[in-house]
Subunit: 218 residues, 2 copies
């Protein structure tokens, strides 16, 4: 890689920026997957690119668990069912009907299950930048997930992030070190359908907000 | 936008994927900025694209604060100086010398300061997906930051994420609602220099790790 380190800075043109915007707009949280197997080399390529995410103190705390055993997938599924039932209880009437109809889990069909953890015990980075905002350790892992997500979409793959899970129970079911914290559980595979609008928008759960409402000046 | 909702799915080709990989690899955490002003329309474009990030329950909890007042910037700078002094105390000898030489703050030169918050009180999304993993509210904001970061780089801009800050003090200094939690403080501007290798790698603080070490199968 040494020769490229001294290459002139990479420029990106307007045509690329238009495509990148399309990539961001077409990235969806996919819940309905085709069961077709995905080439493991392609998944490896996504993980490699994700590992170029920014991380606090360059500590690279992401740990990727490819969940392949059907017994472990079943344990994750059970956790989802329990957490989902609890979530349903907290909604009433029409909201509850909406919620139940959103078919939140691609867990049963997605060929690839990827649990992404943060290693709280990672010595890399020597703690730099984490003293006053230790949560940046987790944020670094989220950055890696976001890069993986965009890279997957550029390959025609869909990603669904399942957060209706009991994180400690999932960590135990996957037999990972005690110092690993679950950040994201991702389903990956070919999407059954493609959309430009978020599913929760399409199903009238929550429309997009005008970004103007989120910008203030001080 | 209605007509595009029914457009055929967007495909991305190998040429785009190569450029996207370059974008990820050339995204750096920039600390040395030129003082040239940045067109506010360009910053707005970045924020708009960032607002297409995924968010839990589509709750879109990101709040962007453009920090323009010199008094408020000075308050942030003071927080950095205090937090940085505390951080220095926790390193010894050679590590400390390294640390001090890393020139962590672009705060003095970057023309744009952007504080990014999560609104804990956002009613949007109706709490969906946050019951067992409430931290996903914050993670949604991190996803927006990551998209903004890549989009900025595609425009030739550099972004530096400052985490050596006291988050509650910064929130107070910026006079934001009590329900807003500081997720990231970003310096944005034209970089003085461009690099393919992370600064902390180049300065031998922490080398890149082989992604193989971060992948396990279960």
């Amino acid at each position: 890689m040494t020769e490229t380190l001294h290459a002139p800075p990479r420029q990106f043109d307007a045509a690329f920026r238009t495509l990148f915007r399309d990539l961001v707009l077409w990235r969806r949280d996919v819940r309905r997957f085709r069961r077709d197997a995905i080439d493991p080399a392609l998944i490896h390529e996504l993980l490699e690119l994700a590992s170029h995410a920014p991380s606090v103190g360059h500590c690279q705390p992401w740990r990727f668990v490819l969940v392949e055993s059907s017994a472990r997938r079943e344990a994750v599924r059970s956790s989802f069912v329990r957490a989902n039932a609890g979530a349903l209880e907290s909604y009433e009437g029409e909201q509850r009907t909406h919620y139940a109809s959103l078919k939140l889990a691609g867990l049963d069909d997605a060929p690839v299950h990827l649990a992404v953890f943060a290693d709280e015990a990672a010595a890399e980075g020597h703690g730099l930048g984490r003293r006053t905002m230790p949560e940046t350790l987790h944020y670094s892992v989220v950055a890696a997930v976001q890069i993986l997500w965009l890279a997957a979409r550029a390959q025609g793959l869909g990603v669904g992030w399942i957060s209706i899970l009991e994180p400690a129970i999932v960590a135990r079911a996957l037999d990972v070190p005690e110092s690993w914290t679950l950040i994201a559980y991702l389903c990956i595979g070919l999407p059954v359908e493609e959309h430009l609008d978020p599913e929760l928008d399409r199903h009238r759960w929550q429309p997009r907000l005008d970004v103007e409402r989120a910008i203030v000046r001080r």
